[in-house]
Amino acid sequence: MMALIPSKEVVDVVLEAGGEPLKLCYQCGLCTATCPWNLVRSFSIRGMVHQSQLGLVDFESEDIWLCATCNTCVKRCPRGVEIIDIMRALRKVIVEMGVAKVPDALRLSAKNVSVTGNPLAELQEKRADWAKDLDVKPFIEGTELLYFPCCYPAYEPKEKGIARATVGILNEARVDFGILGVKESCCGDLVRKSGNETIFRRLAESNIKAFTENGVKRILVSSPHCYNTFKNEYPDFGGNFEVIHSTQYLLELVKEHRIEFAKELNKRVVYSDPCYLGRHNDIYDEPREVLQSIPGLELVELPDFREEALCCGGGGGRIWMETKKGERFCDLRLEQAIELGAEVLAVACPICMCMFKDSQLTVDKGESIEVKDVTELVHEAI
């Protein structure tokens, strides 16, 4: 066996890239043991952290790109190590210092975001096209609420329903809201988590500028990723806004009787907690309360839910990458939902929706279940 020589230089680079928390790790292995990847293949986060501690990281390894930033390990870590930060730092070292090859899919998507402001390479000027036929005002100074739909509902045909349902509900509730449309760009979460810190900063700065210039105070988001980024990361760059996720806002509207349900929705529904809503931001009850308020709807729980919920596998830029069949968390999740006899798999995240809709195509009896955003279900019932 070749002996390795620890490299102080590499350690310093990783630390510099934001890997500071790795110092704290005492190698108990709980992260590896809780990581969903180990349901489908072997993946030692502990090992990677230790390699980082000694500057012995194999930057060529595809493992570096696996982490979906689902936060399970961080939540459970006995030393409070921000493992996602370490993963981010390692990816950053590769992306920004070019020490190894970045997977093509990631490189491409990041480039897209950088150039077009969205990962789907759609034109910036079409960002508001989803709302063309709807009664949606552009946001102007003094508008109460900014609705920020996220790139996927904005462009992706399969997901536009989320944005449209949201607008339907807001209008029903007579909410004073608007959209920024072409003035906004991707929140930058996925690029940041996949190591493109520079692009992220640019996006953040541009969004903050747009929000600030237009006098935005309160932002309604459909995506937990946007939610997390605006709420927890933008403040570091000077952007302080009140951020509210659609499920939170829906509950507010239901409780204040600003929307009333007109129909029964006699369906068996399971809810899949998005990582960035649940583990990253501790929002577990609101989506459930909203669903339960829909007349006739029967809410059932997946085998693991809330804090334990299985990730869809799309976070951290994974949505852009190909995951081998048999290793897809979303497939597992969908199978569980089908097993439970659910008619609808309710989500509260455009990333989750994208992942699950893909799964429907490959999973046995995938079409037997609908994948819908909570917003869509509410909209159907009013």
Binding site: A3, L4, I5, P6, K8, K23, Y26, H50
Partner: protein, 662 residues
């Protein structure tokens, strides 16, 4: 054996016994047994009227042996012994048999339970026949206490007792008290300066009106037993007049003769006339006889110290004619706090200790970081430069069956402390090679976390070797630490400038002598064995002798202090009672039967039997103050010379033989 008159008392215990056992029948049956003159049954034998039956029968029927069949003797044997005594009978002439817990409460078949009760009573009657009166002896306790060892444990124990205004003799073999703790730089996990917290205590010991400090002295002989030990202490000659020396240090300055200083772990020199360290207590000089040229030349050469001593403490007279003194002490209890030795890593040749200059032991590193130490507190390599990277190797000599199997308990923590100090003082890269991190004490884990934050590199793996054979350019001129990083599953080679070996704490090299001096037992690992690991942790098999600190096992300062205070409390409780009651049912030797083979001496845990020569014949004698009456010696005795009072073979065989009716 004439004249046995046995009274038998069978208790109903309400229905507790009578509900299952036909007590009247048992009493009637007992009356038919040989030598039984009275046999009664009664509702509650433990009640006053029940006890009165026994007392009256002793007086009126002249019974001289008593059998009570009732509950467990663990419950009421003492009650009935007292009843016998009140009735004028020696309390040991009672046999208490258990027909409640061992019979009525555990059996349902009344006939069978009654038969069993009869058998138990029959056996008790047979046994009581052989009972002999025993005398319960008491002995006074001398309130003086001897504390052996002037480290933190010994000092703490001495202060606790002396503060209760009892005389303490504190014996320390080195010229000054202070022990290992005074050699330490800082103490984990709080990083207090060891000297700062210890020297006030040393001064207090030095001045305490109830502490007589016998430094530079060793215990030579201990005799007697709990309450009345006699101790001989050799006060080694310092070759100066202690009463005159003011510790000014001029002589030391002028003395031309040097050797490596023990206190500085050989990293600095001391003189032939020396005070081991600045805050030494007592603050007087000691002369190293072997090194002093004046003494060695019989007064013909040197004599610088005499010349410069203004206090007239060093004179030709003290140098040439002073000799060791034997001090005799009488004490009631002894606290042994003799501490530990640091494991010598040179027996692990792979680690290169003594081979490479910059491989150090923990204690050496303590001296290096200490501001008063040989480098003035600077962490320096032998060549005077600062290290850029340092490896700290844990478990050197511990957790290794080739050396010591036990965990040395303090090394993880002091290893972390070193990492902290190195980072703080030099900014060097630090690697900790560990097997497991064991940070169990108060504030320890927090300290570990704090040190982790400093970016210390932890490599889980026992180091295979430390070498200077470089295989790459960057290894050149470095010490390379080779290990498997078990977490990587890969070999690593870490080039460093300095290696610190976290050497284990081990039992003193002369622990065997100390053990036999004080009648202590040693565990397989060499440390002294406590009376009970959990429930009697500072007592020893020898009553009146207590242990504290690292002589019992490796431990840190707070644990040592707690143990010292526990030992002091034990001694104080003895003093406060003022006397001890001796076990009456102890071993006794029939000298005519004894062959002096010493098997009893060998097997006894408490050192009670001793073979001595009487008129040229070897016979065993029992020290009754030490004997606990466990009976192991009687089993070991091949000739039947030893028997245990109240549990003689005759008694037990009589009982066994009568249990089964044939």
């Amino acid at each position: 054996m004439e004249g046995r008159r046995i009274g038998v008392y069978v208790c109903h215990c309400g229905l507790n016994i009578a509900g299952t056992v036909d007590v009247e029948e048992v009493a009637k049956y007992a009356a038919t047994l040989p030598s039984v003159v009275v046999s009664r049954d009664y509702h509650y034998m433990c009640s006053d009227p029940g006890q009165a039956l026994i007392k009256d029968d002793i007086k009126e029927c002249g019974i001289n042996r008593v059998v009570v069949a009732s509950c467990s003797p663990r419950m009421h044997e003492l009650t009935f012994r007292n009843a016998c005594q009140d009735g004028g009978l020696n309390p040991y002439l009672l046999e208490h048999t258990n027909i409640r817990e061992h019979c009525s409460w555990v059996h349902e078949d009344k006939a069978a339970a009654t038969e069993k009760a009869k058998a138990l009573v029959r056996a008790a009657v047979k046994r009581v026949y052989y009972h002999e009166p025993l005398e319960v002896k008491e002995a006074p306790v001398n309130p003086n206490v001897l504390v052996v060892g002037g480290g933190i444990a010994g000092m703490q124990a001495a202060l606790d007792i002396a503060n209760g205004e009892h005389q303490v003799y504190l014996v320390e073999r080195e010229p000054s008290i202070g022990g290992h703790m005074i050699q330490l730089d800082r103490t984990f996990p709080t990083l207090d300066c060891s000297e700062c917290i210890l020297t006030p205590k040393m001064a207090e010991v030095g001045h305490h009106p109830f502490i007589e400090l016998l430094a530079y002295s060793e215990v030579e002989e201990v005799s007697g037993s709990i309450g009345q030990f006699k101790v001989k202490v050799r006060k080694k000659a310092r070759y100066i007049d202690e009463s005159k020396c003011v510790g000014c240090g001029v002589c030391e300055e002028k003395c031309p003769w040097k050797v490596p200083s023990e206190f500085e772990m050989g990293l600095a020199m001391r003189k032939a006339i020396y005070i081991p360290f600045a805050q030494a207590i007592p603050n007087v000089v000691t002369i190293d006889k072997d090194l002093c040229v004046y003494i060695q030349s019989g007064g013909k050469k040197c004599g610088a110290c005499i010349k410069f001593c203004e206090a007239n403490a060093v004179t030709p007279e003290t140098l040439l004619n002073q000799s060791d003194q034997i001090v005799e002490l009488e004490v009631g209890s002894i606290i042994v706090a003799t501490g530990y030795d640091q494991f010598d890593p040179s027996v692990v040749p792979q680690y290169g200790y003594k081979k490479y200059d910059n491989v150090l032991t923990g204690l050496e590193f303590e001296r290096i970081t200490c501001a008063a130490g040989p480098t003035g507190g600077k962490i320096l390599l032998k060549d005077g430069t600062e290290p850029e990277n340092v490896a700290i190797i844990h478990c050197v000599g511990s957790r290794d069956q080739n050396y010591h199997e036990y965990c040395s308990r303090v090394c993880c923590m002091y290893g972390l402390k070193y990492a902290y100090l190195i980072k703080e003082l030099t900014g060097a890269d630090v690697y900790e090679f560990y097997i497991d991190m064991r940070c169990f004490g108060e504030g320890f884990e927090e300290f570990y976390k704090r040190i982790s934050e400093e970016g210390i590199k932890f490599i889980r793996g026992k180091v295979a070797k430390v070498t200077d054979v470089a295989i790459t350019e960057e290894e050149k001129g470095k010490l390379i630490v080779v290990a498997e990083d078990t977490l990587l599953g890969s070999m690593v080679r870490v080039p460093v400038d300095m290696v610190i070996l976290c050497a284990a704490l081990e039992s003193r090299s002369d622990a065997d002598k100390v053990a036999s001096l004080f009648g202590l037992n040693r565990r397989a690992d060499g440390f002294f064995l406590a009376r009970h690991v959990k429930l009697d942790p500072v007592a020893t098999p020898t009553d009146g002798i207590f242990i504290a600190g690292c002589c019992e096992a490796p431990r840190d300062i707070p644990d040592t202090v707690a143990q010292a205070e526990a030992a002091a409390a034990k001694a104080l409780s003895l003093i406060s009672k003022g006397k001890i009651t001796l076990e009456a049912a102890v071993a006794t030797v029939d000298e005519a039967q004894c062959q002096g083979c010493g098997r009893c001496e060998e097997i006894c845990t408490f050192h009670a039997p001793k073979v001595i020569s009487k008129n040229g014949v070897m016979v065993s004698t029992i020290n009754e103050t030490l004997c606990k009456g466990c009976g192991a010696c009687a089993v070991a005795c091949p000739t039947g010379a030893i028997s245990i009072r109240h549990f003689t073979q005759e008694e037990i065989l009589a009982q066994v033989g009568a249990l089964i009716e044939v």
